[in-house]
C-alpha cells in the first residue's frame, strides 16, 4: 500500500496543485483573449509581480498574520491582488490602449505584450535579485501527514499547509467568478462583449469599462496564482517562460474564450504533466512476481524525465491544434 500513498502524493496531490495554478492562470488568459482578442504573453509575469508584492508586504509586516492565525502571506494576498489589478489596468492604459487605438493587428499587441513581459521581468529582477526566496518569512510551513486506513500502510499521505490554502482559494475564486459572470450585470455585459463587441457597444454597453474590469479580474487572478505557486515552492523571478506554455495550452485545450473550459484545461494539463513524469514502475513493482519471466521491467518507467516536463504541455497543445483547434468546449475564437 506504500505504493498507493506514493501515487497519491506524486500524482493526485501534485497534479491538483499544478492544475489549480494553471487553471487560475488560464482563466485570466482566456478572459483577455475573449475581450481583447489577443494572446497576453505578459500574464505569467503579472503572476510573478503579484507574488513579489506579497513578498514585499510580508517582509514589511512579518508578524501580521500570527495575530489571526494565518500565514502573513495569505493575509497579504488581497492587498497584492488589488495592486496587481491596478498594475494590469495601468499596463493596458500605457501600452495596449494606444496600440488598439491605432487599429493594429492583434499580433502586434502580442509583440507589445512580450515587451511588457521583459519590462516586468527586468523590474522584478532589479528589485528582488535573481535568486529564489521563500514567502514564509516569519511563519513555519505546516506539513500534515495522514496515515492511510489500510493494513500495512506505512507511508503517509503528505499535504502541506499552502496546498490546502491553494485548494480553498481556487475553489473560492472559481465560485466567485461563476457568480460574477452569470448573476451580475457587469458579468453579463462582459459575456455579451466577448460574443460580439459591436453589438454589445450598440446596445449601450460601455466597452471601456468592460475592458478595465477584465484587466482587473485578470490581474487579481494572476496575483492569486502567482502567490499560491510561490507559497507552495519558493518565489523565483524567472518563472514566466515555463509557466506560459502550460497556461496557454490549458486555455486552448479548454477552448479559447471559455472560462470553464480553461479550468478543465488547467487540470488536464496539470495531471498530464504529473502522470507523464511519474515512474510507473512503482505501481507495477508489487505485481512483479506474477509477471512472466521474460518481461523484465526497467527501473525507470516514466514517459518523460522531469527535466523534459515542458514537452508535455507542448505535446498537448500540438495535439489539440491538430485534432480540435476549437478546444474541448468549442471556444469561439480560433
Amino acid at each position: 500500500m506504500n505504493e498507493l500513498a506514493f501515487f497519491i502524493n506524486n500524482v493526485v496531490i501534485a497534479g491538483s496543485v499544478s492544475g489549480s495554478i494553471y487553471a487560475i492562470g488560464a482563466i485570466g488568459v482566456t478572459l483577455i483573449f475573449s475581450i481583447m482578442r489577443f494572446a497576453h504573453f505578459a500574464h505569467a509575469d503579472m503572476m510573478t509581480f503579484g507574488a513579489f508584492m506579497v513578498l514585499l508586504l510580508t517582509t514589511l509586516f512579518p508578524a501580521a498574520g500570527a495575530s489571526i492565525g494565518v500565514p502573513t502571506a495569505v493575509l497579504m494576498l488581497p492587498l497584492a491582488m488589488l495592486l496587481t489589478a491596478a498594475l494590469a489596468v495601468g499596463i493596458d492604459k500605457t501600452f495596449y490602449k494606444p496600440l488598439r487605438a491605432h487599429g493594429v493587428k492583434p499580433i502586434v499587441l502580442v509583440i507589445g505584450s512580450l515587451g511588457v513581459t521583459l519590462i516586468l521581468q527586468g523590474l522584478i529582477r532589479l528589485f528582488s535579485g535573481t535568486g529564489g526566496q521563500s514567502l514564509y518569512v516569519d511563519d513555519r510551513k505546516e506539513i500534515f501527514r495522514l496515515a492511510l486506513p489500510f493494513e500495512g500502510a506505512r507511508a503517509p499521505i503528505v499535504i502541506t499547509e499552502p496546498q490546502i490554502y491553494l485548494f480553498v482559494i481556487t475553489l473560492l475564486a472559481v465560485v466567485a467568478l461563476h457568480l460574477f459572470l452569470n448573476r451580475s450585470r457587469l458579468g453579463k455585459a462582459m459575456r455579451a462583449m466577448s460574443d460580439n463587441p459591436e453589438l454589445a457597444q450598440a446596445s449601450g454597453i460601455n466597452t471601456n469599462t468592460i475592458v478595465a474590469v477584465t484587466w482587473m479580474i485578470a490581474g487579481a487572478l494572476a496575483a492569486i496564482a502567482g502567490t499560491l505557486l510561490s507559497l507552495d515552492v519558493t518565489f523565483k523571478p524567472d518563472l514566466s517562460f515555463f509557466l506560459l506554455l502550460p497556461i496557454f495550452a490549458a486555455a486552448i485545450v479548454g477552448g479559447v474564450g471559455h472560462p470553464y473550459g480553461a479550468i478543465a484545461g488547467g487540470f488536464v494539463v496539470g495531471f498530464a504533466e504529473t502522470l507523464a513524469v511519474f515512474n510507473w514502475n512503482v505501481l507495477l513493482r508489487p505485481f512483479s512476481d506474477s509477471l512472466p519471466a521474460w518481461l523484465e521491467l526497467p527501473s525507470n518507467l516514466a514517459f518523460v524525465g522531469t527535466e523534459y516536463k515542458i514537452v508535455v504541455p507542448f505535446f498537448i497543445l500540438v495535439a489539440i491544434l491538430v485534432w480540435r483547434p476549437t478546444g474541448l468546449f468549442k471556444g469561439k475564437v480560433i
Binding site: I107, Q121, G122, G131, Y308
Partner: protein
C-alpha cells in the same frame, strides 16, 4: 489623343512606375552614423574586441534577415528564434568537433543503431495499427489499439534508449563529432531548423497568428531543454570547446586578423543572402507574399494558396536562423546550451528587426549592427551606472547595497529591451528604414 484620355481625371491617370529614384539620404545618414559609432568602438576598445563584436553583429544580421522575412514579408511572428539558433549551433558543433574514438571504437554505436531500428519499427507498427480500419476493424477499436500500442512501444523504446545513452555517458563521455568541415554543419543546421519550422508551421499557420507565437515559444524551450539535458549528445552543461573554424584560427594568425577573415567570410554570406532576398522580394513571388500579408481575403480570391505560401516563407526564415546560429556557434568556438537565452537570441533579434525596418533588408542589417553595438556597450554602461547609484546611495542615505549588484545591473538590460520593443511599436511601427511600398499607378 483619344477622347477618353482627355476626359479622364488627371488624378487617376497612371503614372510611370519607373519614376526617378529618390536620393537615399536617410540611408546615407543612418549608415554614416553607424560607421562613426563603429570607428569610435574601435578607437576605445581596440581592434580585436571590436572585430569580434562586428562578427557577432554579422551573425545576428543573418538571424535578423531570417526574422524579417517572417515578420516583415509575411506578418508571421516567431517568438522562438532562440530554438532555431540553438539547433544551428548544435549542428555546427556536432559536425565539426573531432571524432571521439572512445565511442566509435566500442560496441556502443551498434547498440545505439539497434535502438534506432527499434524506434523505426515501433513507428511503423503504430502507423500500421492506425490503418487497421481498412481491414474492417471498427474505428473506436482501431484508435484504442493504436493508442495502447503507441504507449507500450514508446515505453519500451525510451527505456532502451535511456540504457544506451547512460552507457555512452559512462564509457565514452559523449558521442563526439564527425570531424567534418563546419560549413557542412551550418547547412545541415539550416536544414534541421527548416524541418522543425515545417513541423510547427504545418500545424499553426492555418490558425490564428497568436498560436504560432505560442508554439514557437514552446519549441524553443524544448530544444534548449533537450540540448541541455542530453549529456550523451552535447555534454550538456559541461559544454564543448573548441570548435574548429573554417578559416585560419587565432592560434595561427592572431586574434584581429583571424577574426577579420572570419568577418569577411560572413560578410560574403550576408551579401549572397541579401542579393537573393532582394531578388525574391521584387519577383512575382515576393509580390504575392506581400499581397497575402496585406489582404489575405483578396489574395485567396485571386486563387493563391495562402497556407502553402506562408509555410514556404516560414521555413525559409527558419533555415536562415539555423544557418546564422551555426555561424555564430562556430565563431564562439564554444557550444554551451545554457548560453542560449530568450533575451539574447529571441528578443534582441526582434528589436533589431522592428527597429531597423521590418520588410526592408537594408534596414534590418542596419538594425542588427546598430542594436548589437548598443547591446554590447550597454554591459559596461549598466555596471557603471549601477556602481554610481550604489555609491550615491551609500553616501547620501547610508544605504547598504546588496552584494549581487552586478547581476542586477545586467538585469536592467532586460527592462531596456522591453521598453524599446513597446516604444518602437507605438511611435515608429515601421522602423528607422521603412519598407518602401511601390505604387503601380
Amino acid at each position: 489623343m483619344s477622347d477618353s484620355a482627355k476626359t479622364r481625371n488627371p488624378d487617376y491617370t497612371p503614372k510611370d512606375a519607373t519614376q526617378a529614384r529618390r536620393f537615399p539620404l536617410r540611408e546615407l545618414i543612418l549608415f554614416g552614423v553607424l560607421l562613426v559609432a563603429i570607428l569610435a568602438v574601435y578607437a576605445i576598445m581596440g581592434a580585436a574586441y571590436s572585430t569580434r563584436m562586428l562578427v557577432e553583429a554579422a551573425c545576428y544580421a543573418i538571424l535578423a534577415l531570417g526574422l524579417t522575412i517572417q515578420w516583415g514579408y509575411a506578418g508571421q511572428f516567431n517568438a522562438g528564434v532562440m530554438g532555431f539558433v540553438a539547433l544551428g549551433g548544435f549542428c555546427a558543433m556536432f559536425f565539426s568537433v573531432p571524432v571521439n574514438d572512445a565511442f566509435w571504437g566500442s560496441a556502443l554505436p551498434g547498440e545505439f543503431g539497434r535502438v534506432l531500428l527499434y524506434g523505426a519499427a515501433a513507428i511503423l507498427l503504430i502507423v500500421g495499427a492506425s490503418k487497421l480500419d481498412r481491414l474492417g476493424v471498427p474505428k473506436p477499436l482501431r484508435t484504442f489499439i493504436a493508442v495502447v500500442l503507441g504507449v507500450v512501444l514508446y515505453l519500451v523504446v525510451i527505456s532502451q534508449l535511456r540504457e544506451v545513452t547512460d552507457a555512452i555517458e559512462n564509457q565514452a563521455g559523449f558521442v563526439g563529432g564527425l570531424g567534418l568541415p563546419p560549413w557542412i554543419g551550418w547547412i545541415v543546421g539550416g536544414a534541421l531548423a527548416g524541418g522543425v519550422g515545417y513541423f510547427i508551421g504545418h500545424i499553426c499557420l492555418g490558425l490564428r497568428s497568436d498560436y504560432l507565437a505560442i508554439a514557437t515559444l514552446g519549441i524553443a524551450e524544448i530544444i534548449k531543454a533537450f540540448l541541455k539535458n542530453s549529456d550523451w549528445l552535447t555534454r550538456g552543461t559541461a559544454t564543448v570547446s573548441p570548435l574548429p573554424w573554417p578559416t585560419p584560427g587565432p592560434a595561427e594568425l592572431g586574434f584581429t586578423l583571424s577574426r577579420a577573415i572570419y568577418l569577411s567570410f560572413t560578410a560574403v554570406i550576408i551579401a549572397v543572402i541579401f542579393f537573393l532576398l532582394n531578388r525574391a522580394y521584387n519577383a512575382p513571388w515576393g509580390r504575392m507574399i506581400r499581397a497575402i500579408r496585406d489582404n489575405e481575403v483578396s489574395a485567396a480570391a485571386m486563387g493563391k494558396d495562402i497556407n502553402k505560401r506562408r509555410l514556404e516563407i516560414f521555413v525559409l526564415g527558419c533555415i536562415l536562423m539555423g544557418l546564422g546560429g551555426g555561424i555564430l556557434g562556430t565563431f564562439n568556438s564554444l557550444f554551451d546550451p545554457q548560453g542560449y537565452l530568450p533575451l539574447n537570441h529571441t528578443f534582441l533579434v526582434l528589436v533589431m528587426v522592428i527597429l531597423g525596418g521590418p520588410g526592408n533588408n537594408l534596414g534590418t542589417i542596419f538594425g542588427a549592427v546598430a542594436v548589437y553595438i548598443i547591446w554590447i556597450m550597454s554591459e559596461p554602461l549598466a555596471l557603471f551606472l549601477m556602481q554610481l547609484a550604489v555609491s550615491f546611495g551609500e553616501g547620501a542615505f547610508g544605504w547598504d547595497a546588496p552584494g549581487n549588484m552586478d547581476s542586477r545591473a545586467l538585469q536592467a538590460r532586460v527592462l531596456v529591451i522591453g521598453l524599446l520593443i513597446t516604444m518602437v511599436l507605438r511611435f515608429a511601427p515601421k522602423g528607422l528604414l521603412p519598407e518602401k511600398i511601390k505604387s503601380h499607378g
